[in-house]
């Protein structure tokens, strides 16, 4: 049942993503993205990764969305074509059809390994936390550095 709900959330995300793609305005696209992110967060909750879901909401729906909103608001308010002309749209769609077809072919012909059943593991999140500051510590540090470096982009250039 939970699994079905998980799938439903995922499907919602896909729907929102498709909606976002066809929004004429950035505003609409950003709103739809919010929808996607929330759906994904819901899926995380359902998968038992509640902390992760929370993080998703905080970081994405919070921080990233704020950035997006600032960017959207800084751009001149004009109604523009949403789609680029080069390459021609039909060529672009054609290019996207290819991976879709591949995805379908892959799922039909090979399919993912159908492994163990859905299983709840208590204490998973504790484990995750200890891992993040244990064996994964260098990587965590690296991601910290990553954020630091990213923050360098905010520095104003010298006059």
């Amino acid at each position: 049942m939970t699994e079905a709900a998980f799938l439903l959330c995922g499907a919602g995300a896909v729907v929102f993503a498709a909606l976002a793609l066809f929004q004429r305005t950035l505003y609409g696209s950003a709103l739809c993205l919010l929808g996607v992110l929330l759906q994904v967060a819901g899926a995380y909750f359902l998968a038992g990764a509640r902390l992760l879901g929370l993080l998703q909401v905080l970081v994405y729906a919070g921080a990233v969305m704020v950035l997006l909103v600032i960017a959207v608001m800084s751009s001149p308010p004009r109604l523009a074509r949403p789609f680029a002309g080069t390459p021609p749209a039909w060529l672009g769609w054609l290019a996207l059809l290819l991976p879709f077809a591949e995805l379908l072919a892959f799922l039909r012909l090979a399919g993912p390994a159908d492994g163990a059943p859905w299983r709840w593991t208590p204490g998973l999140e504790t484990q995750t936390a200890s891992l993040l500051f244990g064996a994964y510590a260098p990587l965590t540090e690296a991601v910290g550095l990553l954020v630091l470096v990213a923050s360098l982009s905010i520095l104003r250039e010298e006059p």
Binding site: T86, P87, A95, L96, L98, P99, E102, A105, F106
Partner: protein, 620 residues
């Protein structure tokens, strides 16, 4: 012998070096002295050799001296050496004697030319090459000097190079000779590859080792070389044009140095040729054909030197007939007597030109139109010319009679009546053309002829002496038959009276015909010929052969231009260069893939990744 042999080379080489390094700078007008001295020395040496051989001091009549090893690589060894035997000594004697006289003549003839020094250098180099050719002991060495002769002829024919015709004639001579040389060299290569040697002694000793086909090929190819040098059909085209050089050059070329080389080569190869009767027959036929054709052309030419030139071709043809009938003695004998009287005739022609030179505007030759009635102005020349003409016609007891008679005997001995009759025709023809010339130039006094200027006179002493000397030789050389036969180891010549009378009759008939045509019925030369421009053209063209060869040369030149322009310059070279432009052009087309649009970059990434993923997953 060794000393004499040394003189043969040392004298001309040192004369040339002196002439080039000393006289050219300091006393160009005295250049002839070392040359004359060297000629005299060579003549003395060669005559002494003749005597030694004739007197049997040399065992087997062959004296050989290896000089040095020229080249070697593996089994390929080439030695240079000298070979003096009866054949080479006899021809050498004639060549050096005649050359000496012509040298002397040239001193007077060229005295006023500003390139006096250059002339004598070339002239003497011509002589040196001929001497070297005669005493070579192998084919390749012979070829070396053979080419030297060719080069000297090129330089001398083109001596007055300001004239386009002289340049063209020089080139034509050299080129035609090179074509013949191709055959010569190929024969050399054949001998080298099958026998490993080109020494005459070795080759003749080992003829049995050669397969028959090779033998035929070698003989044929050698004849090809000889045909070019000795102006036999079809390679005779260069000789008539070779008149462009100064007259002493013509004399030397026709009598002593150039055209004799071919006959000498054939005479030299006689042991080889005897093995291949087919080639011999072909040589005889070619010789006869050349002889007849040249006689016909000579009988109708008006230019003095041209008539003499065709007469040479005709006489050489006769010598080839002798070779073809296996009559080595006859060929060599005629070669020698012909050397004397042809030199004489040319020198006389030179005197005529010298006398007429004011009305010739510097042309190196004269036509009968310019002459006429010269006998009175130039009595000595006329007398000498008459002797020469008689000798050429074969009137006894002059030199030509004996040698020609011997050839005819040889032909008769083959038993082929047709060949014999045709040879007789040649003999008659030779008296026709030479006496026609004599009558027209010296005796004729037609109004159409310009005739000599009032003050035309005999040449000076230095030119008269050689003429007179040669006249004596031409008259008396018939007596050389006996000693020559001894030197060559041939049977002593004897006169077959019936054949002699036939020949004599033919000659006499020829003279009469010439008299009739030139003096009695001059309409032939002055009216009828002019009415037949077509015939005139054909004769002038050697029955079309000249223009045919010219057309061939033109074809080759056009082909080379086409190759160079259409193919090399306009097709192949641009094609290779266009490969570079193609590469740049491909880059130009590749820019269409991206025009700086970000979405396009991403499009490629998506497509690339999809294709990669698809390929990898599906190929799995």
């Amino acid at each position: 012998m060794q000393t004499a042999a040394l003189v043969l080379f040392a004298a001309p080489v040192s004369a040339l070096l002196l002439g080039f390094f000393v006289f050219r700078r300091w006393r160009p007008e005295k250049t002839h002295w070392p040359m004359l001295l060297s000629c005299a020395a060579v003549t003395a040496a060669s005559l002494w050799m003749c005597v030694r051989i004739h007197d049997g001091f040399i065992p087997d009549n062959v004296w050989e001296l290896p000089v040095y090893r020229w080249a070697c690589a593996g089994s390929f060894v080439l030695e240079f050496g000298l070979r003096v035997d009866g054949l080479s000594a006899a021809v050498l004697g004639m060549v050096s004697l005649v050359s000496t006289l012509i040298h002397l003549y040239a001193v007077g003839y060229m005295a006023e030319d500003r390139s006096f020094n250059r002339f004598f250098l070339y002239f003497h180099f011509f002589f040196l090459s001929m001497v070297g050719l005669l005493v070579a002991d192998n084919y390749l060495q012979m070829y070396v000097f053979w080419e030297g002769v060719g080069l000297a002829s090129f330089l001398l024919i083109g001596f007055w190079y300001e004239k386009a015709s002289a340049r063209a004639a020089a080139w034509k001579a050299f080129l035609t000779n090179r074509i013949g040389d191709l055959g010569f060299m190929l024969a050399v290569f054949l001998l080298l590859s099958s026998l490993g040697t080109v020494r005459f002694t070795d080759v003749f000793a080992r003829l049995g080792d050669l397969p028959h086909g090779t033998l035929y090929a070698v003989a044929f190819l050698l004849f090809m070389g000889a045909a070019a040098k000795s102006a036999q059909f079809p390679l005779h085209v260069w000789l008539p044009d070779a008149m462009e050089g100064p007259t002493p050059v013509s004399a030397l070329m026709h009598a002593a140095t150039m055209v004799t080389a071919g006959v000498f080569l054939m005479a030299r190869s006689m042991p080889l040729l005897r093995e291949v009767p087919g080639v011999l027959a072909m040589i005889a036929l070619v010789g006869l054909m050349t002889s007849l054709g040249a006689a016909a052309v000579a009988a109708t030419r008006k230019d003095l030197k041209r008539v003499l030139a065709y007469s040479t071709v005709s006489q050489l043809g006769l010598m080839m007939v002798a070779i073809g009938t296996g009559n080595l003695f006859g060929a060599v004998f005629h070669l020698i007597t012909h050397g004397f009287f042809k030199a004489l005739l040319f020198l006389c022609a030179g005197s005529v030109i010298h006398a007429l030179h004011e009305s010739l505007n510097g042309a190196p030759t004269a036509s009968v139109d310019d002459a006429g009635g010269l006998a009175r102005k130039l009595p000595v020349t006329f007398g000498a010319f008459l002797i020469g003409a008689l000798a050429l016609s074969g009137i006894p007891p002059l030199a030509g009679f004996f040698s020609k008679d011997n050839i005819l005997e040889g032909v008769h001995a083959t038993g082929s009546l047709g060949l014999y009759l045709l040879s007789l025709l040649v003999a008659a023809g030779s008296s026709v053309y030479i006496f026609r010339l004599l009558f027209l130039a010296f005796l004729g006094e037609r109004p159409e002829q310009r005739g000599p200027k009032a003050h035309a006179h005999e040449p000076g002493f230095r030119m008269k002496v050689p003429i007179l000397a040669l006249a004596v030789f031409s008259a008396a050389a018939g007596t050389l038959g006996e000693p020559l036969a001894k030197m060559l180891g041939a049977a002593a010549p004897h006169l077959d009276l019936s054949i002699s009378f036939a020949a004599l009759g033919a000659a006499a008939a020829g003279i009469l015909l010439a008299w009739w045509a030139a003096m009695r019925r001059p309409s032939f030369d002055w009216k009828w010929r002019r009415a037949q421009p077509e015939l005139e053209r054909i004769l002038d063209d050697d029955f079309g052969w000249q223009s045919f060869t010219a057309a061939c040369a033109g074809r080759v030149a056009a082909f080379s231009r086409r190759l160079s322009d259409s193919w090399e310059k306009r097709s192949w070279d641009p094609f290779t260069e266009s490969l570079a432009d193609t590469a740049v052009g491909l880059g130009e087309n590749l820019t269409l893939l991206s025009r700086g649009a970000l979405n396009e970059y991403l499009w490629w990434i998506v497509v690339g990744a999809s294709v990669l993923a698809g390929a990898v997953t599906l190929c799995f």
